[in-house]
């Protein structure tokens, strides 16, 4: 099963290496990893997509929690928003193809961000399935490049991932 996990970390040097190393070392199957700053200085947020059963997920969370710089780990089992950004460059042979791929892009609400004589770059945001479907729809036309960011996510409603005072001794 696929899980989206959010990790709030102190953004010290090397923290990403620590997380990536741990995931690799423990043999967890990771599909994507995305990282960026938060609105709070000193804190970054990482989104991980891992696949595995509940036991695997539990170990991923527990092992991540062991890292000193990891402040909080959440598995987004609850309703959540999930997005991925993709840039897709498609090769275009002629006018007819150009119209076709534009139709496809419109159906997916993708934006054109670059047009050249023999190629177009589309920008698409959506969950991973939508991005997959978009890429597959364009595949017959000749994909030149596909760049995806990996999924990021956030719980719906009031639930937030924040620095919580853990119960001290």
């Amino acid at each position: 099963m696929r899980h989206l996990v959010s990790v709030l970390v102190q953004d010290n040097p090397g923290v990403l290496q620590r997380i990536a190393g741990l995931i690799a070392r423990r043999g967890f199957n990771i599909e994507s990893l995305a990282v960026g700053r938060t609105h709070q200085p000193g804190l970054s947020r990482i989104s991980l997509v891992v696949s595995g059963d509940d036991a695997v997920l539990e170990q991923v969370e527990k092992q991540l929690n062991r890292l000193i710089e990891v402040i909080k780990v959440t598995d987004h089992a609850e309703p959540h928003v999930e997005r991925e950004l993709a840039l897709v460059k498609v090769g275009i042979a002629g006018m007819e193809e150009r119209l076709e791929v534009k139709d496809i892009a419109e159906a997916f609400r993708a934006r054109i961000v670059d047009v050249a004589r023999k190629s177009i770059i589309f920008e698409l945001t959506g969950d991973s399935t939508k991005v997959n479907n978009f890429v597959e729809a364009l595949r017959p036309y000749g994909l030149l490049e596909v760049m995806r960011t990996g999924a990021v996510g956030m719980s719906r409603g009031e639930q937030v991932l924040k620095v919580r005072e853990k119960k001290a001794v």
Binding site: Q10, I68, A168, V169
Partner: protein, 561 residues
């Protein structure tokens, strides 16, 4: 004050009075500051020995062990010892020098990415980039190393940080938002554990290395409840080996009683252990009748990692054991005890008498002569298992070996660290001819310190444990395990370092030799030439389960001696 002096001042404030280390170019400012510091420094002859000695210092004393090395090769020599400390949850602080920050990343002389390399082998590591951060980072490192599940922490100091002028404060607070270990176990879970034990017909208590600080509380709980106790290799001494409720250690070379008890138990209370594969064997066949496993551990990640836990208790072993002791009631398990006594009586750890000297009887003789009153260290191999089987450990922190990583060569540096941690106490290192030769240069350190360490090399002329596996599982094809044709004369080797050396070959002289070793003040190396093809039994073959236990040496049972 420069950064180097600030490092030593901050260490002093953490109560450090001893550092094991080896100097080199990038750590020189700190060695210079050490010249004026009250902190004692022990010069080891190889950095690996320094981290091992610090590990044993921590394990024997319950305090934090500290070691120091220079950049690059010096720091890299710590890697094995750091992983060893990590696997056996030992609080160690490693201080390393590094090239000046301006040279980092340029492939400078003696440069290595020590923080990157040691990330997987430490509980935490950090490079200090601002001289004024030194006191805070050192305070945090000690807090991380010694609390929660203890472990090694490495702090890397670029040379320019050591040389820079310190203008900061030593009045620092530890504030780690991501690190707040749980100390007190959940009261409801503890209640549930006690209820489950009350209902059990065949309960057992397993205690591991994490229970070494909880020996008193475990004793109260065990005696109040009357539960059978199984200390693991790392838990030996956390419950007295000579206590009637002790079944001996479990696992690959564990006792018949312990392994059968685990196999038949319906309820297992496990305190401070991590269900290592050397304990469980094939995990899917481990404790097949145990419907209730209660796992007490301070590290939540250990719970449910390998075995399915019915009642998890996250908390400090000492605290939880005290709570369990408070609520303990006598268990009604006389029938169970009848079975256990039967296994205990029929299958004690034993060996068959032979005309040659045997490792087991040498260890037994030392146990009898010391009445168990010694700190025992060992290398890794057959001698380690024999020591675990035949030296009865009655006191916590009296058995220091490499359980998780199985690091050959730890025996002598462990003995040095333990002797310095507990001055005045006798330390015996049971070592193998193979294991000992991995760190024998530390005889120099031992000579200089003149510690009361007795090295007992059980020389069988082989890498004995590997030879045993080749014997049992590789059709006796003894590939690259023969040492006898090129071993040194160990007694002469000791004499070369100015240490008393004795060679024992004659079985009849065993007891007088043991007396001679113990009577000599200061270090002694005894080389006991033992039977060369002995095996460690019982044995559960790797990947097997309790039912697959080989109780006696099959070679001897079939072919005789």
């Amino acid at each position: 004050m420069n950064g180097a002096a600030a490092i030593l001042k901050a260490l002093e404030m953490q109560g450090v009075d001893l550092i094991f280390g080896h100097p080199g170019g990038t750590i020189m400012p700190t060695y210079d500051a050490l010249y004026d510091s009250p902190i004692r420094h022990v010069l080891v002859r190889h950095e690996q020995a320094g981290v091992h000695a610090a590990t044993a210092y921590a394990r024997a004393s319950g305090r934090v062990g500290v070691c120091m090395a220079t950049s690059g090769p010096g720091a890299l020599n710590l890697v094995t010892g750091l992983q060893d400390a990590l696997m056996d949850s030992t609080p160690v602080i490693a201080l390393t020098g590094n090239v000046p920050q301006a040279l980092i990343g340029t492939d400078a002389f003696q440069e290595a990415d020590v923080v990157g390399i040691t990330q997987p082998v430490t509980k935490h590591n950090i490079q200090v980039r601002n001289v004024n951060d030194i006191p805070r980072i050192i305070a945090e490192a000690f807090y991380i190393a010694s609390t929660g599940r203890p472990g090694p922490v490495l702090i890397d100091f670029p040379k320019d940080v050591q040389q820079a002028e310190f203008t900061g404060t030593f009045d620092v607070e530890v504030d780690l938002p991501g690190y707040k270990p749980t100390f007190k176990g959940h009261p409801r879970q503890i209640e549930r554990a006690l209820e489950a034990l009350q209902k059990a017909e065949k309960p057992i208590l397993m205690v591991g290395g994490g229970a070494q600080n909880a020996a008193q509380e475990i004793m109260v709980f065990a005696e109040k409840s009357g539960i059978p106790v199984i200390p693991t290799l790392m838990g030996l001494g956390a419950f007295p080996g000579t206590h009637p409720q002790c079944l001996g250690m479990p696992g690959m070379h564990g006792s018949v009683a312990a392994n059968r008890a685990i196999h038949h138990a319906d309820t297992i209370l496990a305190i401070g252990l991590r269900f290592d594969d050397r304990v469980t064997g094939k995990v899917s066949r481990f404790a097949p009748n145990a419907h209730t496993i209660i796992h007490v551990d301070i590290d939540p990640a250990e719970i449910g990692k390998l075995v399915k836990t019915a009642i998890p208790v996250v908390g400090d072993a000492k605290w939880v054991a005290a709570e369990l002791a408070k609520g303990a009631k006598k268990l009604n398990i006389s029938k169970w005890w009848g079975q256990l006594e039967d296994w205990k009586t029929k299958h004690p750890f034993a060996w068959k008498p032979k005309p040659h000297l045997q490792s087991q009887e040498v260890i037994q003789a030392f146990w009898e002569a010391t009445r168990g009153k010694a700190i025992v260290t060992s290398g890794v191999g057959q001698h380690q298992m024999f020591a675990a089987q035949f030296y009865k450990f009655d006191a916590p922190r009296s058995w220091i070996n490499s359980g998780g990583l199985g690091t050959m060569g730890v025996g002598l540096p462990f003995a040095i660290g333990a002797a310095l941690a507990r001055p005045g106490e006798l330390v015996i290192d049971f070592d193998g001819d193979g294991s000992f030769q991995m760190t024998l240069q530390e005889l120099a350190t031992l000579k200089k310190l003149d510690l009361n360490v007795k090295i007992v090399i059980l020389n069988n002329g082989f890498l004995g444990m590997v030879r045993q596996w080749q014997d049992l599982f590789h059709a006796r094809r003894y590939s690259e395990v023969y040492l006898a044709d090129s071993n040194p004369d160990f007694a002469k080797l000791a004499e070369a370092y100015g240490i008393k050396g004795i060679t024992l070959t004659d079985k009849a002289r065993l007891h007088e030799t043991v007396k001679e070793v113990l009577a000599h003040p200061g270090p002694v190396l005894l080389e006991a030439r033992v039977y060369h093809e002995e095996g460690v039994f019982p044995m559960i073959p790797s990947g097997g389960a309790a039912e697959d236990m080989i109780i006696e040496n099959p070679r001897e049972t079939v072919a005789g001696d």
